[in-house]
Symmetry: C2
Subunit: 425 residues, 2 copies
């Protein structure tokens, strides 16, 4: 496994260090620039401290959060493509946050949310500028490689023992992350009503935990697809170690290459990477795979109305990603006339999942520092904190959608079968 | 209450009786016309018996259902706007069905469903032709009056004791209609997490049972809106009889006139009458009514992909009605950035509900005959049977959608609170 000591995640500090000399004395124009920036992002209640220690904004608003801008170049950069440059300059250490990253981002995102649509920073043009890679077969490969192939050892430091990198299900908010991930897998199996001997297709299987859980607990056979080479290698090794290689086949291939039929079609945390332009293709794949009395489940990050992700998030974290609205998701289901049986929104569960991840990330900082540089660490801290903030304020959702074919009447009468108390079947 | 002895529901027999003389001997052209008609509706496996007793279709296909066409005029009419004329001529007795109305319609609808879109009889042009009344304030008034104001005594003969004219919830398929309607109201109250003293808006309250149940069982105050004069009169009378008039206010007005704020916004079986062009208006009403930590619930007939209702259904039964897809429903929620928390599909519950209604309708035929003529009775038999068929084959759905504002974090952690075993809180 090749773990880069220095990441290319954010703009290297050296490239822009020349500009730093501009910072020094603070002039009236600097204060004006700060005001312009704050106004552009909806006048959030935050205090901005400049490189000479002067504070702006703290006097008039009751702010519990603030940002420190270490030089004029960073301030200037905030005025164009604010979210991208904020992310990069936070990662580079030219911007610091006071009062906690999560509350800071909640404050900023809420202010931006209140802006009229035409003034919103995260505009479609910025989205297009920062999404050069489409989710074609090769584009998806590069996009997925960018995030998921940076080293299993790294992910092991802050994910649960089964390496689930998707929203957990907390039967109780005090549940451990391990228990909550098991409860999530159990909930999915129950929603799919798995029976021994059935065939399952798992599209976008991550490190393969769900496929192994299904095989072990429900006696089904799973064909699990993923285009992340590192994840597939890990998944296969664990299936061998657990004696499940006859029940679970991990296939290093794109969802568009799925063949054969199945009793259950499941996809957990893949739709975010498919892209709305390709939902109809995924719909066709499901249509040719799912048996007449089969059940499907799509688990995805979503949103209430269509907005692109932040340019920083798209460029540095998840190129090509997009969380759909329910309306957009219907492109998957309508052409094949699938019936939506059930939608559950697990938004607050994802905020809590990310809190667990961030907490473990911070706890293992010393070991992560042996793998990556400070820019990488700050970028990932920003990313995980940003997710918590977005789920907390309702800018992101988590939709778990159960569906069947229209004519399938072999359906349970109520949802009682879905109740999965704390992971016990 | 004014109960018409002779309805204007279907084309009066007398108007077309002159054409009947054309029926007599069956010619080769008649057989050709039957073939053309069957092909136009997707070649369903059914046997057509003509006025001289000759059968067509029964030889080659294994048909368990059939239709008897009593004269050539009825056959000719089937060739243009088939669904409208089938409905009218079944109502008038010029067409009879063999093998049961429900299986017959399941067979026909399934065949029509398999037709390519461009050949489908229920085309948008027919939809427009047969939907002259838009759901404006006055249009809605006329549309609602057409169906709901034909006499409470009539509905009492086949609805449950509480007069709920919407999908029931059968905790078990063997539950009685009465129990299932109570379980439905209980399920809704639980989904809304009603607390004593809260304020509820009920948009489109029917005969008011849900509002009274909420007030009685959950101690809330309800403002319940409806534009059906007959229903409001009945609802008020029952609220007085049950001593609930201080808690429940029945308002004879349109949903667009809803004022004030509420902790819960509920609408059961009204969206079908709102029309997609007006969803944004209903969304605005909800946006101005629902408190920040309020919960909303919309219960509506829906469908998997956008298709107009049959012209006969639109003209004779529910002018202006339309069952939305989930995608179309999102027009309600997206502008106000509401969060969809939960969707439950109760399709098979509605098939069962309609079975109960039809069974009670047939059981009370003698009393219904004192109120209405045979054309009316046959039309309603067709309508209720058609609903059963459409829910059975998955052409219609029943979506129950729970929603909140995006920033509302005062949400239950799981769906455990929704479990309503058999109506007991």
């Amino acid at each position: 496994m090749n773990i880069p000591k220095t990441s290319t995640l954010a703009v290297p500090f050296q490239r822009i260090v020349g500009l730093r000399n501009l910072g020094g004395r603070v002039y009236g124009i600097d204060r004006w620039l700060v005001g312009t920036f704050l106004h552009a992002i909806g006048d959030p209640a935050l205090c901005v401290t400049l490189w000479d220690g002067k504070q702006i904004g703290g006097e008039t608003t009751i702010s519990t959060v603030g940002m420190v801008i270490h030089d004029r170049a960073a301030l200037l950069r905030l005025l164009t493509n604010s979210l991208l440059h904020f992310g990069d300059d936070y990662s580079n250490g030219r911007i610091e946050i006071e009062g906690g990253l999560v509350p800071f981002m909640e404050t900023v995102y809420q202010a931006m949310d209140r802006l009229p649509k035409f003034r919103q920073v995260s505009d479609p043009a910025a989205y297009r500028r920062n999404q050069p890679r489409l989710n074609s077969l090769s584009g998806s490969q590069r996009n997925i490689h960018h995030h998921y192939d940076i080293g299993n050892d790294f992910y092991q430091l802050w994910l649960d023992a089964d390496m689930l990198y998707t929203c957990a299900y907390f039967p109780d908010p005090s549940a451990s992350l391990e228990d909550a991930q098991i409860a999530k897998m159990e909930l999915i199996c129950r929603k799919l009503r798995l029976q021994p001997g059935q065939t399952v297709v798992d599209a976008g299987c991550g490190w393969g935990a769900l496929a192994r859980y299904m095989a072990r607990r429900y006696g089904v056979n799973v064909r699990a697809y993923n285009i992340s080479h590192e994840q597939i290698a890990y998944a296969r090794q664990r299936a061998r170690a657990e004696g499940l290689e006859r029940q679970v086949e991990y296939i290093e291939d794109d969802y568009r290459s799925i063949t054969g039929t199945c009793d259950a079609f499941v996809s957990v945390g893949m739709l975010e990477h498919v892209g709305p332009d390709h939902y109809h293709e995924l719909g066709l794949v499901i249509d040719r795979s799912l048996k007449d009395d089969g059940i499907g489940l799509i688990h995805t990050i979503g949103q209430n109305c269509s907005r692109p992700m932040s340019p920083w998030f798209l460029k540095r974290m998840f190129p090509g990603s997009y969380p759909p609205t329910i309306k957009e998701m219907m492109t998957l289901f309508e052409p094949g006339e699938f019936t939506v049986l059930d939608v559950e929104n697990l938004r607050l569960h994802y905020a809590k999942t990310c809190e667990h991840w961030l907490e473990r990330f911070e706890r293992n900082l010393n070991r992560i520092r042996e793998m990556f540089d400070e820019v990488f660490i700050r970028a990932w801290r920003l990313y995980l904190s940003g997710c918590i903030a977005n789920f907390n304020i309702g800018a992101l959702q988590l939709f778990q959608v159960v569906f069947s074919r229209a004519a399938n009447n072999r359906l349970p009468w109520t949802r009682a079968h879905m109740t999965a108390p704390n992971g016990d079947p």
